[in-house]
């Protein structure tokens, strides 16, 4: 190509490019104009919207506008502009044009809540006594029949000298008299005519269940107060208010030192002198007592470790082999699809004895059958995207044999699994668990599945105890399912079986972080709890360096399957919960960057267990030769034969012992 011709083509191409660019930038300015600035609708209301496309001079252009909902479950919008409001809230409609020089515009939409149709006092004692006070509660309903929590209720009193109402809707009766309270929600009002009576209370009695006993931080004390008349007869409907005064031993900026519920329960976080008061009207009773430090801390001693230097370690299981020796298996994360088998008979000399490698990037979970012969490991990230479980013969853990690979309906990945009575419960596809019969471990077969039917449901883990499966389901919380409950079960079953899993109960909490669940019956109180653990990474995760997590363990007390109540938490500041184990009123909890925490959970549980000094010990596993050196990220613990084994994401497997401290108390 000669130079002249080349230059000519060059110039032509430059011009072409220039023309294309300027053609874009000089395109006629145009915009979408709605017929309104915003749209307000009632629930179920339908309407049509229109919009036009205009140029910079306001001339209408022939472009077609299409409409879409920015919130399809709450606001239905057809492409032609037909709109129907489904749920209250603030939404948007997007209008776009197609073709060249596309433009778009967003129309704000407000779907109003239905009007309030009723308001009722739900706190309405038969007798209101002068000198007493109590909070008022209401039930507000709207035209759709929904109970509304987001409506302000204003209460007024016809005689403020008799009854006054503060800004929190607390009622205070000052003297005898008749008064009418009017509660107003939007335009709806309701009245309550009250005849305030003279208060017969002449005194208040106060007792508690720890009188003459040593009280430690974390002990839940139950106070019982009664209003008594002049003849010492109980006035059963006289309101009682509890409060306390604290004088903590450490008063140099100490935080909240105790917690008191209005049912009379009290728990101290810090040692010191406390005075609890019970008041009814103008009558007060009080008692003072001392709370001592719980004094359960003990040293934690490292017994042994098996450092995994090049990949991250996931779950572990420790068991006694059929030969009487002790073994452990650990999984690996984001690596080569390996599970490591360890001889831990001498925990000071933990060493690998075999490795199983499968087509996976993560072997997240490992479990061994009660008789120590069968193990199951889970697969994620298979190269053919057909994940599932691997069933292993671990009769000889030095020569582990793959018995079968099973991926029927599990291809989306199995994250966690549990072996129970010849069945594997395999959490898969992030949505369900399959129940797989492994009586013939070379020929596993799925016998049933359990899956929620809530919108967008998900699942993370399952744990089985006494024939009841406790699954952890992120936003759907903990679900208990009878898969063959037996007489040892702490709670009643419902005739379920592996072939016919039957839901029993559940508990959900707002964060949606539910990642693990561990059921236990308190040895000291007989109460049944599910410890529901979070997993959260609000700070992200650096796979090449130290990390920190968030979340805590929620203690949910069940008085029957239909009556769960979250009563306490264990939260380590600046760290986050992962897996944990509870045995004999002690919780062994992995808290990622917070390491291993051993916690006394004896007695009734209430409030912030961390603040109460219930921590028996902590251990931060770090090693300079670890995959991530010198940084803990503890995955899960397992108590075994007097030791605590733990896996650490950054470093491998550890064995530690709770040491003796002659000055420590007992839990």
């Amino acid at each position: 190509m000669d130079t002249l011709k080349k230059n000519g083509i060059t110039t032509l191409l430059f011009m072409l490019s220039f023309l294309m660019l300027t053609g874009v930038t000089n395109a006629q300015e145009k915009s979408i104009v709605f017929e309104m600035d915003q749209l307000s609708l009632q629930i179920d209301e339908e309407t049509e919207i229109t919009a036009k496309v205009v140029d910079s001079d306001g001339n209408v252009l022939p472009d077609t506008v299409m409409f879409f909902s920015g919130n399809r479950r709450s606001l239905i919008v057809s492409q032609l502009g037909r709109v129907k409001a489904i749920k209250p809230g603030s939404y948007s409609i997007i209008a776009i044009t197609l073709g060249e020089n596309r433009v778009r515009k967003v129309l704000p939409v407000m779907v109003e809540f239905p009007p309030v149709t009723s308001v009722q006092f739900t706190t309405k004692p038969e007798n209101v006594y002068a000198g007493t006070s109590f909070p008022l509660h209401f039930e507000v309903k709207d035209a759709a029949g929904a109970i509304r929590e987001n409506v302000d209720v204003m209460v007024s009193s016809s005689d403020k000298d008799v009854i006054s109402i503060n800004q929190f809707n607390d009622l205070r009766a000052s003297k005898k008299g008749t008064v009418t309270l009017t509660a107003k929600a939007e335009d709806i009002t309701v009245e309550w005519k009250i005849n305030v009576k003279e208060n017969p209370t002449a005194s208040v009695s106060l007792s508690y269940n720890y009188e003459d006993k040593a009280i430690r931080t974390g002990d839940v004390i139950r106070f019982e107060a009664s209003a008594l008349d002049r003849r010492d007869r109980e006035v059963p409907d006289a309101p009682i208010n509890y409060t306390f005064i604290s004088s903590p031993d450490d008063n140099l900026g100490q935080g909240a030192s105790a917690q008191m519920e209005q049912d009379g329960r009290f728990v101290a976080n810090h040692p010191g002198k406390y005075t609890v008061m019970a008041r009814s009207g103008n009558m007060v009773a009080e008692t003072s007592f001392r709370v001592d430090k719980r004094n359960v801390q003990r040293p934690i001693e490292v017994v042994g470790k098996g450092i995994v230097p090049d990949v991250k370690t996931s779950d572990l299981w420790v068991w006694e082999g059929v030969d009487g020796r002790d073994y452990a298996v650990t999984g690996t994360w984001g690596a080569r699809g390996e599970a490591f088998f360890w001889d831990v008979t001498d925990p000071t000399n933990i060493h690998t004895i075999d490795t199983v490698q499968v087509d996976a990037r993560t072997v997240n979970d490992v479990k061994v059958s009660e008789d120590g012969t069968i193990a199951v490991i889970t697969r994620e990230g298979a190269s053919d995207r057909k994940n599932g479980i691997i069933i292993l013969d671990v009769t000889d853990p030095s020569n582990v044999e793959i018995l079968s690979e099973y991926n029927e309906d599990l291809t989306g990945g199995v994250h966690n699994a549990f072996i129970y009575e010849n069945h594997v419960y395999a959490v898969n596809n992030g949505r369900k668990y399959d129940i797989i019969n492994i009586e013939d471990p070379r020929n596993p077969r799925t016998v049933s599945q359990f899956e929620l039917d809530t919108p967008g449901h998900a699942i993370h883990d399952v744990w089985i105890q006494d024939g009841i499966a406790y699954s952890s389901n992120w936003g759907d919380g903990v679900i208990a399912v009878d898969i063959g409950s037996n007489t040892s079960a702490d709670m009643p079953g419902a005739g379920g079986s592996p072939e016919n899993p039957v839901p029993l109960g559940s508990y959900t909490y707002p964060s949606g972080w539910n990642h693990a669940a561990f059921p236990f019956k308190s040895k000291s109180t007989g109460d049944f709890y599910i410890a529901a653990g979070d997993e959260a990474f609000p700070y992200g995760l650096d796979r090449q360096g130290p990390n920190r997590a968030a979340g805590w363990v929620h203690f949910v007390k069940f008085d029957g399957w239909d009556n769960p109540k979250e009563v306490a938490r264990y939260q380590v500041p600046e760290a986050g919960s992962h897996n944990y184990w509870i045995e004999d009123d002690i919780m062994y909890a992995a808290f990622y960057n917070g390491g291993l925490r051993i916690v006394d959970i004896s007695g009734e549980l209430m409030g912030d267990l961390y603040q109460q000094g219930r921590e028996i010990g902590m251990f931060l596993p770090t090693d300079k030769d670890a995959a991530i050196p010198n940084a803990p990220f503890t995955w899960g613990p397992m108590p075994y034969k007097g030791l605590i084994y733990l896996s650490d994401w950054n470093s491998g497997i550890w064995a530690v012992r709770v040491g003796e401290d002659p000055t420590a108390g007992t839990n």
């Binding site: 490019s17 778009r104 990949v311 990037r361 190269s383 992030g430 967008g456 992200g540």
Partner: protein, 371 residues
């Protein structure tokens, strides 16, 4: 990318080439089992590629979220990655090119996979592959990229894959892997306009299904045993053809979009998975997932010009530079192996370099060519 401002890019690239400028190429590749996206840089002068940047993606740090499909907006300002796994739904994440900062996300369906933006509508069309779900019809989600609102879901076949937009931007093509169909979506009306059976025994030629109501059909109960198991569809940049990878039948299938019938079938290497037609319309480059190699086909003659062994065993995606000189192949690897991007010179049909990536390199998409 090859449809994105293609005339301008081709003319610009040609211009640069004629003046002897050094060409540098940038593309994004997703490492599905590493939860990372790499920006790959290839310098044509030195013939060397490298990872220019690695971006962590995903939602749950301790689980493999699986970035699968990737795409770049036609103006090159943003890149998009589909995250296959979630709780339970996958999502679409939008990043700014250059800074690679996360801009926004939106939830999609089950195992969202490949996607592309139509220059006609400005909307993004992503298939919900539903790889691990029930054998029932899935959807193509339509997302407005600016707001990242998911506008609608178009019901399509079982395990849809390979979302690519026609040069006009008026049609999106994908395949239904488990019903052996090529499916055409009208990007404006957001409806399936045509379906074509790819099985030799079941092909219905030019039958137009656009007026048929498929909503009442329970595709999940259909006793169709897939043969072709198509996994990818890519329209020709200038001619009325779509090329389909017959992953199950080891075929490259050519469909005439005017007559809506299969015009040619070519026997390929084992398990062709992804493919792309070169921007100059002369070649189609096909990854052979089953044998770890890449085939370069001359469209006019229908001949395989070369079969090039890949550097790993599981060949995955294909993207071609706007000047049609280089093909970039993502290769997954197995287990703990790293993935790779193989760089093939399409003038010599040789592997000129490869770049090691995170595990299971999959979705791959060209970003820009600079001098």
């Amino acid at each position: 990318m090859k449809k994105a401002s293609s005339i301008f890019l081709i003319s610009f690239a040609l211009l640069c080439n004629m003046n002897g400028f050094t060409q540098e190429y940038y593309l994004y590749v997703a490492a599905e089992s590493e939860d990372q996206v790499h920006l790959v840089h290839f310098d044509a002068e030195t013939g060397k590629g490298k990872i220019a940047k690695t971006i962590d993606v995903g939602r749950y740090p301790t689980e493999i979220d699986g970035p699968h499909g990737i795409s770049v907006s036609p103006d090159g300002e943003y890149w998009y990655v589909s995250i296959a796994h979630g709780n339970p739904y996958g999502m679409l994440a939008k990043y700014k090119t250059g800074t690679d900062e996360l801009v926004a996300t939106t939830d999609l369906g089950m195992f969202p996979a490949t996607m592309e933006i139509s220059e006609q509508t400005g909307l993004l069309y992503v298939v919900n592959f539903n790889l691990h779900g029930e054998m029932k019809p899935s959807t193509v989600s339509v997302v407005e990229p600016e707001s990242m609102f998911r506008l609608t879901d178009i019901e399509t076949g079982i395990m849809p894959h390979g979302s690519r937009i026609s040069p006009s931007g008026k049609h999106q093509y994908h395949v239904s892997m488990m019903t052996d169909e090529l499916i055409e979506v009208n990007t404006t009306s957001m409806e399936v306009s045509r379906r074509l059976k790819l099985s030799e025994s079941e092909s219905m030629g030019g039958m137009d299904h656009s007026s048929m109501d498929h909503s009442a059909m329970n595709h999940g109960d259909m006793k169709h045993k897939p043969v072709e198991k198509p996994t990818w569809a890519d329209p020709h940049p200038t001619k009325p053809f779509v090329y389909v990878a017959g992953n199950g039948s080891d075929e490259l299938i050519e469909i005439n979009t005017e007559t809506w019938e299969i015009t040619r079938r070519f026997e390929t290497g084992k398990a062709p998975y992804n493919l792309e037609v070169s921007p100059d319309g002369k070649l189609v480059v096909v990854s052979y997932k089953g044998e770890g190699s890449t085939g370069v086909w001359d469209i006019e003659s229908g001949k395989e010009l070369a079969k090039i062994a890949n550097t790993r065993r599981v060949s995955h995606g294909v993207t071609i530079s706007p000047d049609s000189k280089y093909a970039f192949i993502s290769v997954e690897g197995i287990g703990g192996e790293p993935g790779s991007v193989d760089i093939i010179n399409l003038e010599t049909n040789t592997l000129v370099d490869h770049v090691e990536t995170g595990k299971q390199a999959g979705g791959i998409y060209f970003w820009k060519q600079v001098n």
